[in-house]
Symmetry: C2
Subunit: 428 residues, 2 copies
């Protein structure tokens, strides 16, 4: 089905998502003296077809400035359109409560119903066993880099890190403050383009845990399966920030999974920790109380005021993922999106290149370069004119990066691929 | 001016706030299959007059369930209605950017403009000197209870705490993990109803800092001025979580001021730290990187992904406070609101009682009890029927508590006072 340039975005039916809104928000002008007045309008986008090779228009579209862009940012990242509209409709008055979620006491019945439903839906999505606690925390995955060794080992304990990219490296470096970490494998010399084979890993015999970063947001390498630590007492820990809830995961393989919300499941400011309950309760004496999993678990993440609006938005996303059919369906869609993008790169006769080894390419973050690197700035500029934004690669690696999380529509990747072909035709 | 029961809330003119919206949000039904459908309607409230003694209707009003309540919660707490409407209008598409603030890269030009404007407006509001850094952090004031000693002293350094209530006590206890804290005054034996006279304080001669909680949210005691540490090398630190931006403050008296946003300036999930720059850079080696003020200051609060939507909302509040005329005007309004409430308590011939010493009663949190304590549950229940919610006192002290932060309208306090008089007439 080819979409015309004037098809309202909200009418782009997603057959896997019955939850998708079909009405558009009404205009609601404000009369603020200092604020801009924003009028919501039905969205029109330029969208190529999946099935045809219709050349993409490369002239700026005539749509208005209030159009929704395709946002390829690595995080915070695009959120489901229906979640945004739902959050907007409820912002001023949550379901007849007479108040915004932002105004609710975190100990009131309204917010308790929100956080409990969010936890329940997440447990359903990931099939989280009952002997695991789910914590909604603050501070991002970077705070967990400290909290993990502080809670799970003593200062002289050995812990193992597999360093597949910048994030695993940061986690390792922070752990050195609170434990004795070993890097048992590093992909640095190969510019973080690989995941090791697990058989060859030389694990520390008494490691308290083995830490991996399940998906490296910057380098675009992703674990497709997970190591089983050789020592049965060594627990597996994964930073899943950038592929959390993008596919089913066997939680029971892990002692702890953690993720910043701002890639796949919500806005920034919420960090989710899933931890086997028997691992809770042994924090080092120097652990700040807010980083102590026992305090957080005993208080159901309400020891102090949690990031309520963020948790609420995560809850809307979980609800949406369930309505899509759960993570099996979500993974199918993510594979389809990644496939057409990697195919476009690999089929470009070297015009585009992805440095990552084929078998471990991320479904979420797709880094690529141009053989003619002098054209990269032009590529990013032209794409932005076409309302495809945040395609610049991380400053540490350069090139381009398309982050295509759960909420990136298929149409967005399709449009990017069409643009890439058109750009190659003009510059190849 | 007496308001009728059907006066639209949005037409309650606030003469000090030209920024107040006068239009009402339009209906925007959603078609979600699982979500409730919320239809926004013009607000109608029952509101007594400031000048008359018209008895309050005690029968439930006929207004619909989407009416806005008067929310006396201690935090998260009521936010300015115009800020909520503004945030709602921009949620789906921030000022023509084609994306929500929740979706923006924290390193993109759009979000940078938001955080920079928020900081600039806060600096204007509090007249923050240029040798102070402003940090937007996560984790609540409770995280700062650890961050402060971790950043400002070594493990054997002495630090002083004035304990005027539960929050100062928690700060003191956390500091014992990372320093040698002394309680130089405690109000515990008098049930936290007083602030000490500063002359009588026996400060530690070499204390690195003197910590106070400027307003105790639970106990309702508030510092009206601030101690000058006798040792010129001892810096003054204040937890201002529950009276931040409620009145002008001479920032230069302090080495560090910190506040959770969720009382006066925004939603939960944002913590603001204002710190004199020369105090930055001496964190203990065991400081988690996210708690290190130098890391946060060097990266303009963007070392990792900050709570973007929360910071944006704080920015809207700062803008609103400036539009009201700044903190001098804000304090005037807060004094008026507190005055009529304390007058109602003190003029009740003992039917209502506030335990706090007159001179240090909080403008923000007003705890009170009933002489007939068996009526307290009834009071709270009847008030809730009148759409005045969250009046129950903290579980640790009982009774009632009315939190009347900046965003609580005068009409809300007026309505509460009218209700109190009516309740007394019926039960006195």
């Amino acid at each position: 089905m080819a979409m015309s340039a004037t098809t309202p975005h909200s009418l782009l039916k997603n057959p896997t998502n019955p939850f998708k809104p079909t009405t558009q928000i009404a205009a609601f002008p404000t009369t603020s003296s200092r604020h801009h007045t924003t009028i919501q309008k039905p969205i029109s986008i330029t969208c190529s077809s999946a099935a045809t090779t219709t050349p993409l228009q490369t002239t700026p579209s005539t749509s208005t400035s209030s159009d929704r862009v395709f946002n390829f940012a690595a995080g915070p990242a695009t959120l489901p359109e229906n979640v945004l509209l739902k959050a907007q409709s409820e912002l001023y008055d949550w379901r007849g409560s007479g108040m915004s979620v932002m105004e609710m006491s975190h100990r009131g019945k309204e917010f308790l119903s929100i956080i409990q439903q969010a936890e329940s839906d997440l447990r359903t999505l990931l099939n989280i066993p009952s002997d695991y606690a789910v914590l909604f925390l603050q501070g991002g995955a970077t705070t967990q880099f400290a909290a993990i060794p502080l809670n799970l080992c003593q200062p002289d304990d050995t812990v193992d890190y597999i360093v597949t990219g910048s994030w695993a490296d940061k986690a390792y470096k922070e752990a050195a403050k609170f434990s004795k970490p070993n890097v048992i494998w590093s992909g640095k010399s190969e510019k973080y383009t690989k995941i090791p084979s697990f058989d060859s890993l030389e694990e520390s015999p008494h490691a308290k845990y083995l830490h991996i970063c399940a998906n490296e947001t910057i380098h675009g390498v992703e674990f497709k399966d997970y190591p089983n630590p050789k020592n049965p007492n060594t627990i597996l820990i994964a930073d899943m920030s950038s592929n959390f809830c993008s596919k089913p995961v066997d939680v029971s393989k892990f002692g702890l999974i953690y993720a910043g919300a701002q890639k796949n499941v919500g806005p920034s400011g919420v960090t989710i920790v899933i931890i086997r309950k028997d691992l809770i309760g042994n924090a080092q004496p120097i652990t700040p109380i807010m980083l102590d999993y026992k305090i957080q678990a005993d208080n159901n993440s309400l020891y102090n005021t949690p990031p309520c609006f963020g948790i609420y938005t995560c809850g809307l996303v979980f609800e949406d993922l369930l309505a899509q059919g759960g993570l099996v369906e979500v993974e199918k869609n993510n594979k389809k999106k990644a496939q057409i993008l990697y195919d476009a790169i690999d089929g470009s006769n070297g015009f585009y290149r992805c440095p990552v080894e084929n078998s471990v390419r991320s479904l979420m973050n797709v880094p690529f370069t141009l053989a003619k690197s002098e054209l990269e700035a032009e590529f990013i500029k032209e794409a932005a004119k076409e309302k495809m934004v945040q395609l610049k690669g991380h400053r540490s690696v350069g090139g381009m990066r398309a982050s295509i999380y759960n909420a990136m529509p298929y149409a967005g990747v399709e449009k990017l691929v069409a643009f890439m072909k058109d750009f190659k035709a003009r510059h190849g």
